[in-house]
């Protein structure tokens, strides 16, 4: 009896197999369509978003670069990013190439946010060139403003200790492991404490833009070093 059931069972299985294979064959040949969702159109979505920058004259008005410099900058920019936009991943990978010993991704993230002024997740050529204009041709106040903007991660106008610690850690991360002397774990927080001692006048635990600019203007070292990168381009 059981033997009969076995063979009967196998027979059923065999027939079911045949039917399924037949259906799959028909689907393959396109005679019938058994899929529910129509997934073919999703592949057509545009993979690249393109962006064209504003005209040369407007950029010249907005920045302090000459026409030739803007042309040269754009040529380099366009060569690297033909689509006209730099997304965060690309930015991180580019910036990391300059610091091969350490991990530059965190700092690159902060830097990206500082450049990406309209917070849309990608740097356009205008952002790029305006940022560069400030850094290279701007006045000392503008540069300090820019630096403050960098440190202020949530852009609320105050630098808290946590924000500063994050920035400091990311900078020390870029150094990597093999340094002399070795980077101790407390080094970033010590550095942050020193910074706050210097900058935070009213000891309220945050640094505002006025405190920052005031303190920096009084510090000779900082003021001298601001001229350093003026002839980069």
């Amino acid at each position: 009896m059981s033997v009969r059931w076995e063979t009967e069972g196998l027979q059923t299985v065999g027939i079911v197999c045949l039917v399924i294979m037949f259906l799959k064959l028909m689907h393959l040949l396109g005679l019938i369509d058994i899929t529910e969702t129509d997934s073919s159109d999703s592949d057509l979505e545009l993979s690249t978003v393109r962006h064209q920058p504003e005209g040369l004259d407007q950029l010249q008005a907005q920045t302090k670069f000459t026409r030739k410099e803007l042309q040269s900058l754009y040529r380099g920019f366009k060569n690297e990013c033909p689509s006209g936009l730099v997304d965060e991943e690309t930015f991180k990978s580019i910036y990391s190439q300059f610091f091969p010993q350490g991990d530059a991704t965190t700092y690159a993230h902060f830097l990206f946010n500082a450049f990406d002024m309209d917070r849309n997740g990608s740097i356009r050529f205008e952002d790029f060139v305006i940022g560069l204009s400030v850094l290279l041709r701007g006045s000392v106040t503008e540069k300090l403003n820019w630096a403050f903007n960098l440190y202020d991660i949530n852009k609320d106008g105050y630098i808290t200790k946590e924000e500063m610690l994050a920035i400091m850690k990311s900078i020390y991360d870029m150094m990597g492991r093999y340094t002399y002397p070795c980077v101790r774990d407390e080094a970033p927080s010590e550095h942050v404490d020193k910074f706050f001692q210097k900058m935070d006048r009213n000891r309220d635990g945050v640094v505002t833009i006025e405190e920052f600019i005031e303190t920096c203007q009084k510090d000779e070292n900082i003021m001298n070093s601001m001229q350093l990168f003026e002839n980069v381009i």
Binding site: V3, Q11, S72, G76, W146, L228
Partner: protein
């Protein structure tokens, strides 16, 4: 660093402003960059085709020719452009590399030409982008293999024996390359014949012969003519044993030889006979003895020494081992699955052939390979369904790896054919080149004769190049106080004077005319000088130097012949012809010891690398050198 990095560096430096307020120490001074700020367009003229690009583009890769100051060497002030006398089509790819940062390999170009261009422009081939890297590597490997094959073929097979090799080496060589001597060839054919005889005897001895009187049943011939077959077998085995022992004796590395495939086959082929001799006529053991006789069929594999095709087949199978392995594995899996299913499907029917799963293996194999003997057939419906699925899938599983194996075989076979064809063509090519070289030498000799006539009428229509070349050869003659002559004059002298040379171990001098070491040097100096030229000339013409050597002109120093200074002033008639330690290679002008005898004998007789100035005014005291010509 990648191109993009160079572009972004100014940006990264600018962003460093963010560190300034946090800095613990003062920042270092920035590097002073004196180069002009503004970007300019450079003009590159590559054999007439003008390319233009920004200077910045080229500066991206400062360690290449175009990116560094090396290109200033190519700057043409009159036209204010950089002129390169190279291929402009390849230059396109090079320039694109600067522009895009990716180097592509053009598939239709010759790999060596491309490599040379890359070397010229100072670009390492490793930067080739992933899209083209595979193709590039494959082509390069193919090319290298081809070159290796050529040089190997030139050296090993046709290379002549060094004259003082031991009989053992000669024997080994005779075995490996039978066509080097008639004796070896005879032996080669004899063994081939005996292999064939042995195999045929094995086959024929099982054919049923007419039974002798008194027996009804047919007898296999082996038993009827037992003695005859035994004698034939003995003879064959004796020959094979002798051959094997000879090979073992001659082999340069006995361990390696004994481990090689061919020697294993040899042993397996002759072992059964000896075991049979030793075996007693015991009933139990003779069963095993019968098994051993099967191994006699392995003698047929000895033919692979004689046949190239067999070797290729074996090599193909070896190289397709992974595909064969895959085939076997997938087949095994499928067999097990289907056998199980068929067994359970047919379990119900009485008197079914599918008694167990291993029994179903047979059915599955026969069905999957589409043989279908019909000794086992399913009876139930389920069995028939699964049986048909089994046969359909069998076709697919077997059909998959077969094309791979076939293409492998075809590739190897064609490679072999190509190698043979190339070797044949190489010989023709070299012969033609030698003839051309001889033509140049003859032209020079002609020029000398004409000069001797000192009549302006004899000045033929020769190019400036030829004039200068002949002048150069003439200078060389004056330098060494030897003369170039031609082959025939030399060989005459050589026959009569029996010049004593001892040739060196160079492989490229295949046919030194019977040179033996004759330290007393019987030729008078004049004749010997001539003879030297003769030898050199004939050497140049019969040398089998590879084509590459024709382009090089080395001047080699060799060890100083052990002569004291006094002997250097030997009398004219008693010059030692000592060329012992010299190394010649064809196409080399080697002047082992310059005749550095000054009248004041203050200079040591050590050779300078360039055999230069003949200081000696005394015509007597030369150490004799042989000068070989490489006709340029």
């Amino acid at each position: 660093m990648a191109a993009g990095v160079a572009t972004w560096l100014p940006f990264a430096r600018a962003a460093a402003v963010g560190w300034l307020p946090l800095a613990k120490k003062t920042m270092p001074k920035p590097p002073v960059d004196n180069s002009s700020r503004s970007d300019e367009i450079l003009y590159l003229n590559v054999s007439g085709v003008r390319f233009q690009t920004w200077k910045n583009t080229l500066d991206r890769y400062p360690d290449t020719l175009l990116g560094s100051s090396e290109k200033e060497f190519f700057f043409n002030e009159d036209t204010e452009e950089y002129f390169f006398d190279r291929d402009h089509e390849m230059f396109r790819h090079i320039l694109n590399f600067y522009r895009t940062g990716k180097l592509h390999y053009p598939r239709h170009e010759c790999i060596q030409a491309f490599d040379e261009e890359l070397a010229f422009y100072g670009i390492v081939p490793e930067i080739i982008g992933d899209c083209c890297m595979e193709e590039y590597r494959d082509r390069k490997k193919e090319n290298q293999e081809r070159l290796a094959e050529d040089t190997e073929a030139n050296e090993s097979i046709d290379a002549p024996l060094p004259p003082d090799s031991t009989p053992r080496e000669r024997l080994w060589r005779a075995f490996e390359n039978p066509h080097t001597s008639t004796m070896a060839l005879v032996f080669y054919y004899v063994t081939g014949f005996f292999i064939a005889v042995s195999v045929i005897a094995n086959v024929v001895e099982t054919v049923p012969c007419r039974p002798p009187e008194g027996r009804v049943k047919d007898l296999p011939c082996g038993e009827k003519y037992q003695l005859a077959f035994f004698c034939m077998d003995t003879a064959c085995v004796l020959i094979f044993t002798f051959e094997y022992l000879m090979r073992l004796f001659a082999a340069p590395s006995r361990c390696k030889f004994m481990r090689s495939v061919m020697s294993v086959i040899d042993v397996v082929a002759i072992m059964p006979y000896y075991i049979g001799l030793v075996m007693p006529e015991n009933e139990d053991v003779s069963g095993a003895f019968v098994t051993l006789r099967v191994f006699r069929v392995f003698r047929i594999f000895k033919f692979s020494r004689h046949s190239q095709g067999l070797r290729i087949l074996g090599y193909t199978l070896k190289s397709c081992a992974s595909e064969l392995g895959f085939l076997l594995f997938s087949l095994t899996m499928a067999i097990i699955i289907f056998a199980t299913v068929m067994f359970y499907a047919e379990k119900g029917t009485k008197s079914s052939d599918f008694t167990s799963i291993p029994a179903s293996f047979w059915y599955t194999i026969v069905t999957m390979t589409t043989l279908g003997y019909g000794d086992m057939v399913p009876n139930t419906i389920a069995g028939k369904i699964f049986g048909s699925i089994c046969s359909l899938s069998g076709v697919l599983v077997i059909a998959l790896p077969v094309p791979v194996i076939v293409s492998n075989f075809s590739r190897i076979y064609h490679q072999n054919q190509r190698a043979d064809k190339r070797r044949a063509q190489q010989k023709v090519r070299l012969a033609r080149i030698r003839m051309a070289k001889k033509g140049t030498t003859n032209a020079f000799l002609q020029y000398k004769e004409d000069r001797g006539d000192s009549t302006a009428l004899c000045v033929k229509n020769r190019s400036a190049f030829e004039h200068q070349h002949h002048h150069l050869l003439h200078c060389l003659e004056k330098t060494t106080n030897h003369e170039f002559t031609d082959e025939m004059t030399y060989s005459e002298l050589c026959m009569t004077e029996s010049v004593g040379f001892r040739t060196s171990r160079s492989t490229s001098l295949s046919s030194q005319q019977g040179a033996q070491n004759n330290p007393t040097g019987c030729c008078p100096r004049r004749a010997r000088r001539r003879a030297a030229m003769r030898l050199a000339n004939s050497t140049a013409s019969v040398s089998r130097g590879s084509v590459q050597e024709l382009d090089t002109l080395h001047i080699k120093t060799t060890s100083i012949p052990p002569q004291t200074r006094s002997s250097l002033n030997a009398q004219a008639g008693n010059l030692k012809l000592n060329c012992g330690e010299q190394d010649f290679t064809a196409a080399i002008i080697s002047i082992p010891t310059p005749p550095a005898n000054t009248p004041d004998e203050s200079l040591p007789p050590s050779p300078a690398p360039i055999p230069g100035i003949l200081r000696n005014t005394r015509a007597t005291a030369f150490t004799h050198e042989t000068v070989k010509i490489s006709s340029l």
